[in-house]
Symmetry: C2
Subunit: 459 residues, 2 copies
Amino acid sequence: MSRPDAALARLAATRDDQLARLDALLRIPSISADPERRGDVHAAAEWVRDELLALGMERADVRPSNGQPAVMGEWLSAGPDRPTVLVYAHFDVQPVDPLGLWTAPPFEPSIRDGRIYARGASDDKGQLMIHLAALRALFEADGRLPLNIRVFVEGEEEVGSPSLEAFLDANRPDLVADLAVVSDGSMFAEGVPSVGYGVRGLVYLEVTVRGPRQDLHSGIYGGGAPNPIHALARMLASLHEPAGRVAVPGFYDRVRPISDEERRRLAGLDFDESAYRAQVGAPDLAGELGFPLVERLWTRPTLDVNGIDGGFAGEGAKTIIPALARAKLSARLVPDQDPLDIAGLIEAALRAAAPSSVAVEVRVLGRAPAALVALDHPAVGIAAEALEATWDRPPVYQRGGGTIPAVGGLSDRLGLPTLMLGFGLPTSNAHAPDEWLLLDNFVRGTEAVVRLWHRLGAG
Amino acid sequence: MSRPDAALARLAATRDDQLARLDALLRIPSISADPERRGDVHAAAEWVRDELLALGMERADVRPSNGQPAVMGEWLSAGPDRPTVLVYAHFDVQPVDPLGLWTAPPFEPSIRDGRIYARGASDDKGQLMIHLAALRALFEADGRLPLNIRVFVEGEEEVGSPSLEAFLDANRPDLVADLAVVSDGSMFAEGVPSVGYGVRGLVYLEVTVRGPRQDLHSGIYGGGAPNPIHALARMLASLHEPAGRVAVPGFYDRVRPISDEERRRLAGLDFDESAYRAQVGAPDLAGELGFPLVERLWTRPTLDVNGIDGGFAGEGAKTIIPALARAKLSARLVPDQDPLDIAGLIEAALRAAAPSSVAVEVRVLGRAPAALVALDHPAVGIAAEALEATWDRPPVYQRGGGTIPAVGGLSDRLGLPTLMLGFGLPTSNAHAPDEWLLLDNFVRGTEAVVRLWHRLGAG
């Protein structure tokens, strides 16, 4: 087995250089949600392409999508007997509002108290640069990589990856791999290395309920005209049992139960429920109360109304029966729920609860499948070894409650077993002011990746 | 019995003068909802006071309230053996938006096709000027009035009469009367004179439901954090039975049933239900389906959600569990429901349906009692005679579904039997562009009022 020692030594000898490159990328304000930053998103794509070529990849290019461009790179000279890994990260960042709450300007990186502060430090430029630094060290130390690497760096993750599916379909030949590694998340806690083996999927719906042709005077028409808010309230109330379980017929039919082993493992996690309660800050928690909280958050599907409006919501009183009411709702999905199947079930439940006096319209606004890699996949154990060798403790195995479209896409659409190696922390202000990345996580992250590629290449 | 003939002749001889005075008042843009029109509201008050003094009243003055000023006038020289009638109207008007939909500028009155077009033509300056023209003709023809008259002209009806109760209490000695006549509404249909004998009351509530301390990511927190929109939907859905009856315990307890005679009378009205359905324009009607539509609209209480909001309601998708959700709701009340009692019942029902994971806050934003005058009150028959003598057909007896705070105030707070003699029409665009008053209704209205005062004075 090839040894990572030379690359690890090279990493240790070039820390300033690695941080300077990260600093350069962090200075590009590549906010994908802001049309005025379109040029900066392109500049970030070109920066990443140039870096991939400079560090030693055989090919790298900026590729257009229906939305923001992506960067693809590859080095496939390890030979057909070595595995191919697809690395995923993204170079676009969240908006920076409210700007006044930043201690320092978001695109002028600074290191304070062992943390790198900047927009994108943790999500996801810092994690992208962990991978690129590892690749550079490997090339510089060994002149080659211990396995075949493809790199896919997205430019519209922060706006929900709207063009992802089409991009994956259009670039399928260059995405062939044995394994995908996604670095766009967090470790379970500081000092606790983590293997992420699943994310929940999503389907997002908008329901519009129409009653009268126009807003009506509630005195003159009250008692005759149907009220679409009443109808919508009844429809939404029908979606859950009072205790919190989703009441949509068929909703749980395809939920794959977790194994006893996984249940034990999740129960063994040091999940701080009282801290979680304090963070939520509500009178009580909710959800499927028969399941432990960690299982509810990671392994059970949910259905949440994300927004509602209708009629008069300003200050004071206005006496109308509104013409329409509208709600946005989304389900978080687990294997093997199909997003469009679930959308159909929710729509059927909504229609079943609607009175005949209103018209109902349901639209699907977005969807992404859940993803889960089997814990007995060989790569899981190898990743665990690489992390343990780096942090001097075994990793925890975590799933996520959120949805990373790329994970669903790589896993479901391309059929790749997909591991999540996140090097952020849950507290790192990923979408908030003063985003940061622990410097120690950057350092150990590069080491863990070098070890992982060597171990996978030897496997 | 004194005869109205001289005053009727005087009315006929001075039509141009009457319309010129109406024109002058209509030109004052006294929009009470617009803070920038405060001066115009005051100008309208002074115009009305001056007109009352000029036409012959013994006293008239502009009186401050906690909000907009009112005008009070009186002529009490008919003697203590003659009845005293309190006439109510208002000189403030609705806003004019959308201005672009007016055929002619809203404060430049024009007569087209037998209609007077202007903001306030029907609601309520035209009806106010019917009364003032009748008083002027009586004074000019007879040198006196056949009964004692007090006039109360409000300046904030179009913003819900927020200072009315305090004003009534503060001016109680000058509001003593045997009967109130309110002209601020419509006849049942064109050519159909109408005696209004009741209006519904109102109580308006705002309910706020709080869950998490702040909006949360629905992926990371979905399955753990309570969703205040779910709670609010459940609470609102609990307020009605599926078929439309209000399900709030105790809501109907104090509803005074209507008599068989009133039921027959309402059934005999030529109420055009198919036109009503077309106006509403919804797939079907709603309400307490066991009752005929007219009874539902006029004699039965209702509970309508007037507005709702919570979470993300913009374009596209945002995956949050919101911190709060809010609804505005109002009940239309009938005798003998007490507004604050009903508010308490609704609040109790909302709280009973709320899960323990959220906090609920309920505020009362407004209230007005229902009003109803007994159909066997002598004034009802006398008004009917005056209307029949004017329109050559007997009037219909109607109640209203809406709420006129002054009717509730005069009836409930001052204990005055209160008749509604409306000279607008349901189609006269009272709160819309191109508001109009039928010229024929103005003419006959003045005649009917002259006849009414003579008949009441003789009674």
